[in-house]
Amino acid sequence: MKKRYITLILAFVMVAALALAGCGTKTPAGGDAGSAAAPPAASGGSEQAGAPGELVATGSQSDLAKDKIVIGGVRSSTGTNAIFEQTAFGPQYKMWVDQLNKDGGIYVKSLDRKVPVELKIYDDGSEISKTTQLYEQLLADEKVDIIIAPVSTAALFAVAPIAQKYGYYMVAAEGGAKELEKYIAQNPNVFSVLGYSETQVPAFVKFAEEQGIESVFCAYIDDLHGTEYWGAAKPALEAIGVEIKGEQSVPLVGGFDANAVINAAKASGADAFLAFTYPDQGIPIALSAIALNYNPKLYLMGPGGSYDFIGGVLWGASGIDPAVGMEGVFGWGGWNEKSSARAAEYSQAFREYWIDKGDFWLNADGTPNADGTVYQDWWGHASYYSVCEIYQQAIENAGALTDEGLIDNALLVEYTKDNSFDTVLNQELRFTNNILLDDMYLGNIGQWQNGTFEVMDVDDRRTADPIYPKPEWPTK
């Protein structure tokens, strides 16, 4: 009696789950299940215009209705990557979309008019299995017009094949790694904008050579970033005769004792201390270095070292001006308002926009910043905003609708491969094999000097003379 009842419930639940699941968009039954997902872009574009490039000339769709362009994305608003989303990427996309809509939307070439933009963002809680599932949903089920990338290099690896599978165009600055080249080669719809070891490590090696650094100690994070950077830097430094006095891995997950790192570095007596770590590890290590008064001639703080807020975290409650505290510390990336007129213009616009909004960043206790401080990132921000500009210019110059009434992503891919973009990073930004070569960047290595992150590359991008050796950590 009982069992039968339960079996019925089970059958009912399963059927209900299926019905619930299916009530979205049902494809006609009997179709070839394996390839049912015709990429929205792959088929659509070419029939309106013989070849993608021609559309610009021939395919006017100005009579078609299109009341909004939906930009889908899965972002890590919560979880371990939330800090990057909150300070680095999120503010760019929000500002961009806000400004676009203030002007009536984004101009679409084939429609010859502006169409309002809507951001459709899901949160993955920094869990990649969730990220991929939600992208599947955005692309296969909800069919957004275009997508932006997920937050973190690993997520980018995971999502690139999905974007490719459904024929979507993706420009990412959310991650940078040598390994990404491999993924991009297999998924040519994906473009990457952020600098990585290939551009940054040589910049440091050149700097070391210029300043005559004789030995280094490295603490690298035990994930892709740390192993890649140290894997590239170690042989390159050895090749120019720099002695490796010691190396340590620092865990991405789980606690560690920063004193041990600093004491080992101190005992090694190396000229330069390199922390190829994220802020979660870099901050404890730096605080330990300050407390143990460890003053190597060069102190490099990996990703995060170029963030404005790092100074605030390290020196906030000490009574010492963060600008003084950070004097001479190195970090990756590098651009500032002296880099170019375009960079200065963007930087000021960014600050004005977020000061006006007033909720860019919250204090540690959750209250909004009273002084309206907007913290900028002098590695990534220029790249992140350039991504927005690339999307915009691609649509402005090659935007067209598919038969389904969605933005034709194949055309955007074609356009991006063949054309240059006017961006903050570079006024003639051009992709080579879907990534950027070194000369597209405003700088690869920088140093804090009097509150400004000065570009230190050994070429004409340098914005100030280096301070070497680094001054001692200040005391009250």
Binding site: V13, L18, A33, D123, I128, T132, S249, V253
Partner: protein, 325 residues
């Protein structure tokens, strides 16, 4: 053979059950024909949760030893797929992953199942972290990388792979419930000492059950790994997945095998919805549900259903008619 006969055809109940299960599996098997390309992806993950929850119940539900190792076996499977998936077809890797999970669980069981339950819980809790750290360390030191690219399969392929695991698991569970082995596990759960007195080899029974419960987790881990595209130790070993099966099983109710299944379905759908719409709240709600479930519905949804039925029968006839259990 005798066992199969009694388990599946022994009584009207078991025949009805068999028909119901087969019908449900057939519906699931045909479902991709009627759905869009996304749904198989969704369903594959849903069934993976069901498998985790049901396989957890095989051991922990019966014996009362709370295992927090689901994430370890699931992650192990995922990482095995990441290591070998490029060259070996998925079904083969899944069998291998199941075997490895079985072997690891067997080893862990031999070491820890002699001890009191709380040591077992602590140890299994640490297992996922230990595997994560160790694999990470090996990858970084010897392969100078962190994770690996995984060959992507179509959503349908992953769905069918997971469905097969689920089908096998559900028949194994039905068989186990009718077998001496299942009976021995029940005895251990009720009173381990007396189980020993009546001649049950308790340690061996526990170890074997734990190992059996690990295998499906390994297999679905391998399958789901292909839907991610890139797997590293941090992605593969997700601690939340150690607790979710426990919660889903208790939420559904562990007295019958349908409890964990229903619990997993409800939880997965709920999670999927909350995560998308109220991400900030999701984890808090998750925690609160956990507390409430343990405190107020320790027998799960099925326990509540039992209670409701019991009450109605009493009210209808004016008195309790027999044992409604």
């Amino acid at each position: 053979m005798e066992l199969i006969k009694t388990a599946f055809f022994g009584s009207t109940k078991s025949k009805v059950q068999l028909i119901g299960v087969i019908a449900a599996l057939v519906i699931l098997f045909l479902s991709p024909q009627f759905l869009n390309t996304y749904m198989p992806n969704f369903l594959a993950k849903l069934i993976a949760y069901v498998v985790l929850s049901l396989s957890w119940t095989i051991f922990s539900g019966k014996t009362g030893y709370i295992s927090l190792a689901s994430a370890a076996f699931y992650g192990l499977g995922m990482y095995i797929e990441a290591l070998f998936g490029m060259n070996i077809p998925l079904p083969v890797v899944m069998v291998f992953a199941a075997a490895v999970a079985f072997a690891v669980a067997f080893g862990v069981g031999v070491v820890t199942l002699r001890l009191r339950g709380v040591y077992f819980t602590i140890f299994t809790f640490g297992l996922a972290l230990f595997l994560q750290k160790s694999i990470l360390w090996i990858e970084v030191k010897f392969f100078h990388t962190k994770g690996r690219m995984v060959l992507a399969y179509s959503n349908e392929a992953v769905f069918y792979c997971v469905l097969v695991v689920f089908a096998i698991l559900i028949f194994v569970v039905i068989l186990m419930n009718k077998s001496r082995f299942g009976l021995a596990l029940d005895c251990i759960g009720q009173n381990e000492d007396s189980a020993q007195h009546i001649g049950v080899n308790t340690t061996m029974t526990k170890v074997l059950a734990f190992a059996i419960s690990a295998a499906p987790a390994g297999a679905v881990g391998a399958a789901i790994g292909t839907s991610i595209g890139y797997v590293d130790p941090d992605i593969a070993f997700n601690m939340l997945l150690s607790f979710l099966p426990v919660l889903m099983a208790i939420f559904g109710g562990m007295r019958s095998m349908y409890g964990p299944i229903v619990g997993a379905v409800i939880f997965f759908v709920l999670q999927d919805y909350l995560m998308r719409e109220y991400a900030n709240l999701y984890m808090i709600i998750f925690g609160a549900v956990m507390v409430v479930v343990i405190l107020f519905m320790p027998k799960g949804i099925f326990g509540l259903v039992d209670k409701a039925i019991a009450k109605r029968q009493r009210n209808f006839d004016g008195e309790v008619i027999g044992d409604v259990k």
